[in-house]
Symmetry: C2
Subunit: 381 residues, 2 copies
C-alpha cells in the first residue's frame, strides 16, 4: 500500500532542517498531503499567455477560455499539484505597469481549488511592451488607464509601459499566495530567476524523498533564451548535496526546449518510441547549450524533462537515459489553434514510476506513456 | 550688413510672450547671440553612440575618440549651435540604471565651449539592455556595480538592467544644463518625446524670425521607428500657428530617414543634383510614413530635412521642393569605419540661404552645397 506523498519546499538554507523535522516545514502549507495510497499527480499548465492582445475584444475573451480549460482539467484530474510551465502571460502585449494582475488571473483556478502550485518563467513573461505600430497612425493611441506613480518625472502619470520584471512577478505570486511553492532562486543566478527544487516525500517515511522536482529558468524576454553554465553548476552542486548517491529520481521542468529536443524530434507524425498526438512544427530551441543536458544525461537519477514553448508539439521522446517531453498548449492565448489541454505527470513510489498522459479540455485523454526510468529502447522500432 | 542672429526657445505656452518681449526669455540663456554680421552656424553631431560596448576595453576608448572628433569640429567651425541628432548613446549596451551618465559625456565638449545645443532621440537612446549571450557561459556575468535602489524588491541591489527612458534622459539633460534648448515635447505625443520648435531671429529685428528649427522624434528603441500621424498633426498646427503665411523658412531635424529618402537615394556613387562623399549602404528608413512628408512637401516654407542613422551615407538630395540630407557619422561608437566628421548647416538671413558642408575630424572640408529654397532642377542632369 502506497503511503501518503507529501511535497516539501527545499530552501537552500533550511534543507537539512526540513529533512530532519518534517513536522516543521517553513510555512504551514509547506507540504501537500496526498490522498492515502494514491500516486502524486501533477498537472502542467503551459503557455497560458494571459493578457494577450489586451487592448482588443478578442484578447480578454481568450483569458476566459483559458480559465475554463484549467478548471475543466482540474475537475477531471483532481491533481495534487500544478506546474505553470512558463508564458503564463504575454507581457509584450500588456501596457499596464504591473502585469501581476494577469498572472494572478492565471493562477486563480488552481488557487480556487486549494491546490498548491509552482511556476517557472517563459520568454513572454517579462518581455518588454511592444507598441502596436497602428497606434501611431490615426486615430492614435487608445485611452489606457495610466496610474500615477512615483516615476522619476514626479507628478507625471506612469504611462511608461515599462513592463514588469521577473522578480516583481515572482514577488507578487509568492507574497499573495500561501499555496505557491515558487521561489526567487539563488540571487547569483539572476537575471535567471525561477531556479529551485522541491521534494515529494511519503508521509510513511518522511526521511526518504520519493522524487526531486527541479525548476529552471530557460530565459528569454529580457535576456537570452538559455540555461546558463551557472545554472548548470547550481544544479550539479545542489543534486550532489541533496542526492549524492543518485538514489532519488529527479524530474526537471523548464520552458524552452534545449537543443537536445531537436535531436529526438520525429520527422513526420509520431512513432515509437515517441508518444504524443501532435507534431505540427519544428522544435524552437534555446539559443545555446551551456552544459545542463550533459549533466542530466550523465546522472542516472535524472528521469525526464518537461517543457512548453512549442504550442504545436505534445510528444515525449527518449534521449539517452532521459525522456524529453513537451507539455500541451493549455492557453487560448498564444499562437496556434490546436485543441487545448494539459499534460499530466503521475509519480508512483513503489515501484517508482512516472506515467504521463494528456487531458484535453473536452475531458478526453490520450498519449499515455510510462516514462520508464531506464528505458530499454528496441533499436528495430 | 547682417544683423545678429539669435536663437529663441518656443514654448507652446509662452510663444506669444516671447515674441513680444524678447528681452525676457524664459531663461537667461534662452537666446544665443551671434557674432555681429555673421550667419547662424549649426554643427550636427550624429550617431555618437556613447556607452557602446561599455563592458569591454574597446568601448570606452571609442567615447574618448568621439569626444576628440567633437572638440576638433567645434574648434575648426566655432558654431553658434549644436544639434545632437540621435543615437547619442547605445543604451542596449549600457547595464547601469541611468544612462544619463553617458549622455552627459556626449554633450560635455559642447558645454565646455559654452555653445548651446538641442537634441533629438534616435533608436538606440532608450533601447533595452541586451544581455550578451556569452555572459551565460563560463566564466559568467562580469562584476558590474549595481547601486542599491528603491526597487520593488526592497533592500535588493538594482541589478535589473532596466534601461533609461526617453523622459529620464531628457530630464537629466534639461535640468543639468542651462545651455540645453531641448524639450520634452507635448505630453500628448509621448512615447515620442523630442518634438519641439526653436526660432532663430535677428537682433536687429527681433519681431521677425529668420528661421524655425523643428525637431521631431522618429522613434525606435522602446517603440516603433515612426513619426506618427499625431506628430504630423502637431507640426501642421504649430506651423499654422507660428508661421501662418509660410513667410519664415523651416528646417527640420530627426534621426531615422523617412521613406522619401529611399526615393531620392543615388544608386551608385553620388551625382548631381545630389552632393556628398559616401553612399555606402542602403537607406534604412522608418517603418511607415504617417503623413509628415506630405505636409513638408506641400509647405513652401519647409526647406530641408536632416537625419542621421545611416553611418555610411552623407549626401543631400532634392526631393520635390525640399532637400533631404544625411548628417555625417560623428561617433566612433556604432557600426562602420568611415572617417568621422560633422555636417555643418549655415543660415544666412539676407538674402535667405542655407549652405551646408561636412567638416572632418582631420580638419578637411568637403561636399559644400547651397540648399536653395526653391531649387530649379535641371532634368537633364
Amino acid at each position: 500500500m502506497m503511503g501518503r506523498l507529501l511535497l516539501l519546499l527545499i530552501s537552500p538554507y533550511l534543507y537539512s532542517l526540513l529533512i530532519s523535522t518534517v513536522a516543521l516545514p517553513t510555512k504551514p502549507e509547506g507540504y501537500h498531503q496526498l490522498r492515502p495510497g494514491a500516486p502524486f499527480k501533477i498537472a502542467l499548465f503551459a503557455d497560458l499567455h494571459f493578457g494577450e492582445a489586451e487592448s482588443t475584444d478578442w484578447g480578454p475573451l481568450q483569458d476566459v477560455n483559458s480559465t475554463r480549460v484549467m478548471s475543466s482539467v482540474l475537475d477531471d484530474e483532481n491533481p495534487d499539484f500544478v506546474i505553470y510551465l512558463g508564458d503564463v502571460i504575454t507581457a509584450n502585449n500588456i501596457a499596464i505597469r504591473n502585469a501581476s494582475l494577469y498572472w494572478d488571473q492565471a493562477v486563480s483556478p488552481t488557487r480556487a481549488k486549494g491546490i498548491p502550485w509552482a511556476s517557472v518563467f517563459g520568454n513572454h513573461d517579462d518581455a518588454a511592451f511592444e507598441w502596436p505600430i497602428e497606434w501611431f497612425s490615426a486615430p492614435g493611441i487608445p485611452k489606457i488607464h495610466c496610474p500615477v506613480a512615483n516615476s522619476s518625472c514626479s507628478g507625471e502619470e506612469d504611462c511608461s509601459f515599462k513592463g514588469t520584471q521577473r522578480l516583481e512577478l515572482m514577488k507578487n505570486e509568492i507574497e499573495l499566495n500561501a499555496l505557491s511553492y515558487s521561489q526567487f532562486g539563488p540571487k547569483e543566478l539572476w537575471p535567471s530567476v525561477s531556479n529551485y527544487v522541491l521534494q515529494i516525500f511519503s508521509s510513511e517515511n518522511p526521511k526518504s524523498p520519493v522524487a526531486f522536482l527541479y525548476f529552471l529558468d530557460s530565459g528569454g524576454g529580457s535576456y537570452p533564451e538559455v540555461i546558463s553554465s551557472a545554472q548548470a553548476e547550481w544544479f550539479r552542486k545542489k543534486a550532489l548535496e541533496i542526492n549524492p548517491d543518485s538514489r532519488v529520481p529527479e524530474i526537471i521542468f523548464w520552458h524552452i526546449p534545449s537543443c537536445a529536443y531537436k535531436k529526438v524530434a520525429p520527422l513526420f507524425g509520431i512513432h515509437k518510441p515517441c508518444v504524443g498526438s501532435i507534431n505540427k512544427e519544428k522544435v524552437a530551441t534555446q539559443e545555446a547549450e551551456m552544459g545542463i543536458m550533459k549533466l542530466l544525461i550523465e546522472r542516472v537519477s535524472a528521469k525526464a524533462v518537461f517543457v512548453g514553448h512549442n504550442h504545436g508539439l505534445d510528444w515525449c521522446c527518449p534521449y539517452e537515459k532521459l525522456w524529453l517531453c513537451f507539455a500541451r498548449h493549455t492557453g487560448y492565448g498564444g499562437y496556434g489553434n490546436w485543441d487545448r489541454g494539459a499534460r499530466i505527470v503521475e509519480i508512483t513510489q513503489q515501484p517508482f514510476s512516472i506515467k504521463s498522459w494528456i487531458r484535453m479540455e473536452d475531458g478526453s485523454v490520450h498519449s499515455e506513456v510510462v516514462l520508464s526510468p531506464f528505458i530499454n529502447r528496441d533499436k528495430s522500432m
